[in-house]
Amino acid sequence: MATQSSRTAARLMVAPSVTVLFIWMIVPLAMTLWFSFRVYRLLSPERTGWVGFRNFAWFFNSPDFWLTIVNTLALVGGVLAITIILGVLIALLIDLPVWGQGPLRILVISPFFVMPPVAASIWENLFMHPQNGMFAAAAIGLGMKPILFLESYPMSSVIFIVSWEWLPFATLILLTALQSLSSEQLEAAEMDGASALNRFRYIVLPHLTRAITVVILIQTIFLLGIFGEIFTTTQGGPGSASTTLPYSIYKQAVIAKDIGRAAAGGIIAVILANIVAYFLMRSMGKNLDA
């Protein structure tokens, strides 16, 4: 049905989406690129001009730069690892013959509907707070000293909170994939004497590959830009212990009011995202065909 006229019509129908997305992407990016090579401080607006790569150099030379990059990648990697491993286990558990699978799914999906600032403030205050949090109460009940989660283990605590938010997504997609696995195949393998571990490894896990790829791709897109959870809980601290690249850009722009440096950080973030995207898209593109 693809005649010349319908192809033209098809292009016209795609055009608005592509145009607005292109503008949305290119205009702020071009402005960021422009600012990143200039002096632009809100506190001393009289100073202007080109500074070459000085803004970038400031970022690379700052003692916390590599920590920031490591934190950003640790957040993405940590949350992916936790949500996929726990997600597979929980999906396997819910997929067993159980009563009330519908209500179970509703309970499991709930954290996904909680907006990030609320999720972060619930965990920070009601659970991790060193005086009044539930974890502190549990520690005191067991005769131990309460742990200062957000002070002593800020990055791990943030990874934990974000993992809680994304676990439902991973679990439910993996569960959907599991439910399309035919039981005959598993029963045949069982009759042939395959152990539960081997059945998981050679039948269930290959079947889940595609679902796991989807989880990795979608979550990475959202995890690279995580901001609200850090803003609400640790503010990137103590020191820079839980500062990620997006948060450090925010600090430069809003707290230090140095637009030039923030823009340089923005360009670095775009490059990092592109490196990650390049590897993801290559593996993802393959898995999405079929």
């Binding site: 592509v18 960021t32 907006m115 619930i122 009044n132 439902p168």
Partner: protein, 276 residues
């Protein structure tokens, strides 16, 4: 892959699955329970799961102290508005990509998704300046536009995967029976496309409702939605746990209920058609 098992086994599986599910749900449950406690029992040690004196005072006080209806209405306008506008632009695009795919369709879809990979913080300053200059700062129109553009790739993707499942043969059959293009669209395609459009709409309302970067940075008071409302409840220092919980419950309840009712469609849409 459910299989027949003995009742005792099923009982054991059920207990295990429910324990895990309740553990995941517990923070939400705890917040809701705390919102009905007095401030004293909210910080009682050891923690009380249920309290003797339930109260609605926290809700009354949060309601009285802040303009909840305005925040709520802003959230509704922004999330529904950005979703509808997004659908308006995305439906023709997804439609033609699904039914008249070109050699570059797959690349185009990947490119759209890749625009979402740019961290929002990276373009904060340009966005802030553009919004200030154009008068969009702290307006609902501005946020509708920003969130529409932010979620457009997801909307196009989801619609594309739904439309792709509509069999082309049915169109050919309708055409053989003499249906005009107009009738084809009204009587054949629209009924088949509605479920996909509906679940795309739901998911994007939820994504827009929970968005907390642009909604906080591009508003001050007038257009601030519930994400800003909750961010304004600063560190409670133990004395305001019940009120914080009440405010939290008020911010998440509408979307939690919407999500519970539509979770089946949501999960299907979320897989981007890659998992059946």
């Amino acid at each position: 892959m459910a299989r027949a098992v003995s009742t005792r086994r099923k009982l054991f599986y059920t207990a295990a699955a429910w324990s895990v599910a309740l553990l995941i749900f517990f923070p939400v449950l705890w917040t809701i329970l705390t919102s009905f406690k007095t401030e004293a029992s909210a910080v009682a040690s050891p923690p009380e799961l249920f309290t003797a004196d339930w109260t609605l005072d926290n809700y009354a006080e949060v309601w009285g102290r802040s303009d909840y209806p305005r925040f709520f209405w802003n959230s509704v306008v922004i999330s529904v508005g950005s979703t509808l506008l997004g659908l308006l632009i995305a439906i023709p695009a997804a439609w033609s990509m699904a039914f008249v795919p070109g050699p570059r369709t797959k690349d185009l879809l990947m490119w759209m998704l890749s625009t979402k990979m740019m961290p929002a913080a990276a373009v904060l300053i340009p966005m802030y300046l553009i919004f200030q200059r154009t008068g969009l700062f702290d307006t609902r129109t501005g946020l509708v536009l920003a969130l529409m553009l932010m979620n457009l790739p997801v909307i196009v993707w989801m619609l594309y995967t739904y439309f792709k499942e509509i069999p082309v043969e049915i169109l050919e059959a309708a055409r053989m029976d003499g249906a005009s293009l107009k009738n084809e669209i009204i009587y054949v395609l629209t009924p088949m496309a509605i479920p996909g459009i509906a679940s795309t709409m739901l998911l994007n309302i939820i994504l827009a409702w929970n968005e907390a970067f642009w909604t906080i940075t591009l508003t001050t008071t007038k257009a601030a939605p519930l994400s800003a409302f909750i961010a304004s409840f600063s560190a409670p220092q133990g004395l305001f746990y019940a009120k914080l919980s009440a405010a939290s419950t008020m911010a998440i309840a509408p979307i939690l209920i919407l999500g519970w009712f539509s979770q089946k469609q949501l999960v299907r849409g979320l897989t981007f058609g890659a998992v059946k």
